[in-house]
């Protein structure tokens, strides 16, 4: 199944096109957002749903979407790994009682 429900892609597209989000994006990044990809993802998701009976594969575009490959969200290595090394297990003293 696609990584998100089709309603989620639609919801994200509508949110992306809203004035509030446009303002926040401009404030954070100095430019207006590009929302077209969310709409494309929604259309691809709906197309997959229609063809699902024919055992269609999830479209590669939905799997390759940069948003899904956001560092960290999908267990991929975050950008900050260029700064520090990721742990393989939690800090050993996390649960130790305080003196």
């Amino acid at each position: 199944q696609p990584p998100r429900s089709c309603e989620d892609y639609w919801g994200e597209w509508k949110h992306c096109r809203g004035l509030r989000h446009a303002f926040h994006h401009y404030y954070a990044h100095g430019e207006l957002p590009d929302c077209g990809r969310w709409r494309e993802d929604y259309e691809a998701c709906r197309a997959w749903e229609r063809d699902r009976a024919a055992a269609a594969q999830v479209p590669a575009s939905l799997l390759a979407c940069p948003r899904l490959c956001r560092p960290g969200l999908l267990g991929q290595k975050p950008c900050s790994r260029r700064v520090w090394k990721l742990r393989k297990s939690p800090p050993p003293d996390w649960y130790l009682p305080l003196d």
Binding site: Y27, A28, G72, R87, S89, L98
Partner: protein, 184 residues
């Protein structure tokens, strides 16, 4: 608060469940510091004499939980590597709501186009200077060197949450991450 809820869940998933009586401490602090994360004891300190509003409390808790999350998932050398500290401070300023437009206006700092990044940069430098005896130049250099990598590390939110609604969206995505990973 959805920011804190997501971070607590992310910490738990990373093997660092947070217990209030072990990992939080309310103390009186000097100056205008609002809180801190003590990596030596894995404890978040909240400055009870400097936090007077719930919204401020939410923000401080979120900020410190981001440090706790970084401590849990990475070998952060808090005490000897200024770049490591800078990275976590950039992330905390970026993702905690510290740098919303309203908060900046309340500080009499005005700007719009990309101002969020200016705020993140400035607050990260300020935080480094508050906890380490380094020069302003050293702090600025460290922040500049790691800014791109760390500003774009949005874990565990996956987006810069500008509001509680954004944080709720991020929380929903985080809860669905198993569905995402199944496709990889």
């Amino acid at each position: 608060d959805p920011y804190a809820r997501l971070l607590l869940e992310a910490l738990k998933q990373s093997g660092c469940t947070v217990f209030n009586d072990r990992h939080f401490s309310c103390e009186n602090c000097d100056g205008c510091v609002s809180g801190g994360f003590d990596a030596a004891t894995s404890q978040i300190v909240l400055c009870q004499n400097n936090i007077r509003q719930q919204s401020h409390m939410n923000r401080v808790v979120t900020h410190e939980l981001i440090h706790a999350f970084d401590h849990c998932r990475a070998h952060v050398d808090w005490f000897k590597n200024v770049k490591h500290l800078a990275c976590s401070e950039i992330r905390a300023a970026n993702l905690s709501g510290d740098c919303t437009l309203m908060n900046e206006i309340a500080r009499f700092k005005f700007g719009l186009k990309g101002h969020h990044q200016t705020c993140v940069r400035d607050r990260a430098i300020r935080s480094i200077l508050a906890v380490r005896k380094v020069s302003k130049e050293t702090a600025e250099k460290a922040v500049n060197e790691v800014f791109d990598a760390c500003f774009n590390d949005l874990e565990p939110f996956g987006r810069i949450p500008h509001s509680k609604a954004d944080a709720k969206r991020a929380y929903r995505d985080f809860q669905n991450r198993d569905r995402y990973n199944a496709n990889l």
